[in-house]
Symmetry: C2
Subunit: 738 residues, 2 copies
Amino acid sequence: MKTVILASLLLGTSALAQTTPQAREAAFDKSISAPEQMGWLKSLSSAPNHVGAAHNKANALWMLDQYKSWGWDARIEEFEVLYPTPLSTTLELLGPVTVKLGGQEPAIPQDATSANLKDALPPYVAFQGDGDVTGDVVYVNYGLPADYEALARRGISVKGKIALARYGGGWRGLKPKLAQEQGAIGSLIYSDPANDGYATADVYPDGGARPDTGVQRGSVADMTTYPGDPGTPGYGSVKGAKRIDRKDSVTVMKIPTLPISYRDATQILRAMGGPIAPENFRGALPFSYHTGGDGKIKLRLAVQSEWSLKPVYNVIAVMKGKDRPDEWVVRGNHHDGWVFGAADPLSGNVAMLSEAKALGQLAKSGWRPSRTIVYASWDAEEPMLLGSTEWAETHEAELKAKAIIYINTDGNGRGFLSAEGSHQYQHLVNQVAADVTDPQTGASVADRLRAKRRADAFDGARVDADDLKAAESGGDMPIGALGSGSDYSAFLQHVGVPSLNIGFGGEGESDGSYHSIYDSYDHFVRFDDPGLAYGAALSKVVGRVVMRVADAPTPPVRFGDLAATVRTYLSEVRELIDTRRKQDDKRAGLLSGNAFALASDPRAPVAAPPAKASTPVIELAALENAVARLETAAKAFDAALAAKGAGLDTGRRARLNAALLGIDQALLIPEGLPGRGWYKHALYAPGRFTGYGAKTLPGVREAVEERRFADANAYAGHTAAAITRLAERLDVATAIVG
Amino acid sequence: MKTVILASLLLGTSALAQTTPQAREAAFDKSISAPEQMGWLKSLSSAPNHVGAAHNKANALWMLDQYKSWGWDARIEEFEVLYPTPLSTTLELLGPVTVKLGGQEPAIPQDATSANLKDALPPYVAFQGDGDVTGDVVYVNYGLPADYEALARRGISVKGKIALARYGGGWRGLKPKLAQEQGAIGSLIYSDPANDGYATADVYPDGGARPDTGVQRGSVADMTTYPGDPGTPGYGSVKGAKRIDRKDSVTVMKIPTLPISYRDATQILRAMGGPIAPENFRGALPFSYHTGGDGKIKLRLAVQSEWSLKPVYNVIAVMKGKDRPDEWVVRGNHHDGWVFGAADPLSGNVAMLSEAKALGQLAKSGWRPSRTIVYASWDAEEPMLLGSTEWAETHEAELKAKAIIYINTDGNGRGFLSAEGSHQYQHLVNQVAADVTDPQTGASVADRLRAKRRADAFDGARVDADDLKAAESGGDMPIGALGSGSDYSAFLQHVGVPSLNIGFGGEGESDGSYHSIYDSYDHFVRFDDPGLAYGAALSKVVGRVVMRVADAPTPPVRFGDLAATVRTYLSEVRELIDTRRKQDDKRAGLLSGNAFALASDPRAPVAAPPAKASTPVIELAALENAVARLETAAKAFDAALAAKGAGLDTGRRARLNAALLGIDQALLIPEGLPGRGWYKHALYAPGRFTGYGAKTLPGVREAVEERRFADANAYAGHTAAAITRLAERLDVATAIVG
């Protein structure tokens, strides 16, 4: 029975692959198998998969074989990166009796792999600063600038103390970075149950939420300055590459840092003295949170690592384009995990493997993509996007010359389609979302997303106003802006390759296993994406994006969407400046009227915030003109392509495609962003104080936020120049269309 | 030394009382003693003070003696009210081993009176329905209509089960009332630590927040229909009054109900099954909240009470006016508590005693108020405003003929001035607030309040927009509208006497002891108002209001403030209607597009809300015209009074005052509000689904909210008529001024 079906499918594929794109996509879909993804996921996540782990290398070699067997031209591309492997992690609550905290997470009987921890990394954070410190503790909430301001107004400082932060509110690595800037001698980060524990769902293994023993590992290398190997900033860490010394690497933290469970955090927080913490500091643990810092308790925190070079195994598979072999569609997902990594990253990785297999089957049936397709399974994403960054840095010139788009996925789950990226591809994403069926409802994933936004808004949940408007109108749903936190960063923000990051989520519970030993096959198939229905859906979405970009005569871009999005960013920046100025004036008025002192509770005093000069008017005229120029150019280009794009002759087509190739590089600011020249994109960057979260028009916006007003004026100019360059290149392309 | 000072003070008082109002108020202030209030508070709260308790009666008799010794014409006015005293309260978690829950709260060594519980009431709620039921439990969040709608969309019903609600979100009594309407057989109410426990402060005795053993007693008689004795609706329950039978009293609940601690609630909630509760149901207990209702657990809940008539001892003290003895300024605070009642109500009661003593001293030094002043220490407020309501009902005719104003206080605490009431007195409250010094900062209490609103808004807290605008402009701070929950209700909403309710708060922690045995002297002086500094401040505020109204040639009203406030209420009602209509249309669109079904998570399904017809246009023209008419009349009246009020001759003055006497009765709607005729005020009522919280223009607003559109149209007319009557009476008064 099974054989018969397969044979008919293969016949079908063979016949259809030669005909229409619609038929080809239908054939592609038939090759996608959720049960097969489940098998791969179980095997790939059966042992620890961190950088340097034997099983992670074995996975790379197994994937290499798969790609080859599916007809891809595949190889492993190796790099050599600085990688700290923890030798010892110590956390002790000192007192009459020393209480030992920390250490490996315990096995849970209902979770098969949790008993298989022989090669597993203990809870730690990569690229913290080794050391052995003893001191008092201050609870700093999320450990972000506003939290330190709140503490300062209450007379609390972390200077000479250990800063205990909770996960959330901003990227993990900002917590030790800001703690050390504030003078802390050590840093702890715990998972409060308010954020991913019992306040969100039943805890594992009853539900998917984080149990009190769960710990979130992660990297704290200063991604906001540059990702990749700290020793090779801006160039590939190929074997033998020149390396800067670890102590000179600005992205390696200087103070010892450990992540801990909320079981451990409870022992510390409960024992702390000092005033009651401000209201927004309070999590879901069953007692009052205090700020500490009064010397009531003392902790010893010590971390020792082996800082050696480790091999990185990127699996790179190429399917050469028949018409435009030197135009590349690059698609990636990483394969390393902190421990087993079933959800993060293997759920996305198996979806990618399904696509590669399906494309291979199409190829075997006679189809060949017009452009070259490159599939990449990155290693060493977790410690700081090492595999993808070193690869992109190494191949920077070639990528600049050839890459049309980079399409990324990472951990995937049950729920709703989410996409972020370069907005000229927003319409393509929406077209694809209209053509893929949601496995739970049978509606298109686009329609389900629109329904979700509308129903949520009706039920009183916060929904982004632009999202809601789009959902109600039935038009294209906006895609988000890319910050960082996965492998697109080097492509988009350093090299200037337009990028997309795509995934499903919102109904799974993988937040509760994130970066812990419980991110396992058992957790995934019970709570995150049972049956991998959404793994299959992801393959169908991304496969379509890959095929449509690879096969389109000219890449399916719509620059009007980009221009309209940049217009909203500019409006936001204008509003930010106004809001800041009003707030500055308000602060000055309150200070001169002594209002903060009068409002303060003498039994829980809160001092006035420090005085600040008024935010000045920023020179935005050039930027305003550049955005208008882009709107005009984009409108003309989109109109020309719509009117005449289909009928271009070969010569004109080639010149048009050549004009569009690398067009996003116009948006790179040559000197990069202030204080972090690695990040060059004028529109998108990870926020200096958000991390994963994007900042758009970052050179201007962050300068205003951080009161670097000279930078704000200078980067308004740089950003205007970049946007103008894009408009000029679009004009050239429009002229070619004729 | 002490004698010398006292002598000079008395001399000063004697000299000053004869001269200016300013000097008289300064002399009044000198008579206010916080240490004396502490002494009274300690003694009054030394034993249980509920209705029927020996100590509560002793307090009344002691106060009677005090008033007399201060020169007041005082007496005890007794009523006889239905009062349920619990005989047995039983709560058991059934299972292989029965777990007994409930019972009296335990003593805490640091709290002296908590060991003195011989005569104390156990945790219970007055006017629940006796019974003995066994059944499954459903967690209903706050137990308000929106919560039952959320449960219904998840397929959960309380029919035949026990509804477990948490305190908060709306008035206590709504919880059993709605539960019985939904078919529940019993009702439990617990104090979630999110609302007044460790999520708000350290728990008692380390801090003032509710300990896990603390239970909030209270009344669940259906206040929203009528307060007072359930057996004598609308008339005084004097000895021998005709009574309706308990089973015919609509304000007595039909199902057994008990309040419980979060220690007990934890045992129930942790054991419950069913789906995860909706996000807004989740409190601060350290586990996932489930809805229950799946039969996993079984509770037995049984309450038996003695339903007998009990005496109520109102202490009434009169100081006759020298010029206008038949114009009364009535001022009250209750003296009964659920147990010791240090914060609620004795902290307000001792502030009132200080005023009475100070007024007595002024009187002894030769001053006499122009109008008659009546001080009342009410009994039996806790079971449902019994003492004040029965008194006001008994004296309804006399109050209608004579009462200028009723000024209420209740429990008081450290912090900021808060006032609610009839808006023609808003300016008076602001004038007084400008003249009283905040004990912690030395600023005026008005300036401290403005500073608080501005600083809070700057720091990102939610601040009412009108409050903030007033605070920023330095103008009069708005006073709130009166709902219910203290003794002003009968005066304002039934009899039509303009009322004020005044107190300090916001920095104390008496929420944590509210209606428990821990509402004690020890708790109060440690956490609520150490040294009773704000007790003294309250005396100074209320004393000024009393004296200024009593002595003013014409009551210090400004009807423009009332008119402007009513204008904002009308705008809110218009906006409510528009918002409702848009929401109805949105719901219809989402239903027809199947959006709720598409948005629903199949593993945690949420059904679509039921279809509803669109909210129609409501006829508001008459109301609009009436408000405009009131604005004109109020403006003319205020202008006339400002221009010529000081120079009126005796005859004109008498006619003017006669015209103003009882003017608020114009605002009473003769038939009362829909379904609750006891409530007659056109502007202010306790919300049918908020309880303590006020609804303004209630006849219209609540009809729109509850989709009683015929009522909405009818009451727009009734309300317009009432407002027009007031405008007409103001015109008469204006004409008298000339």
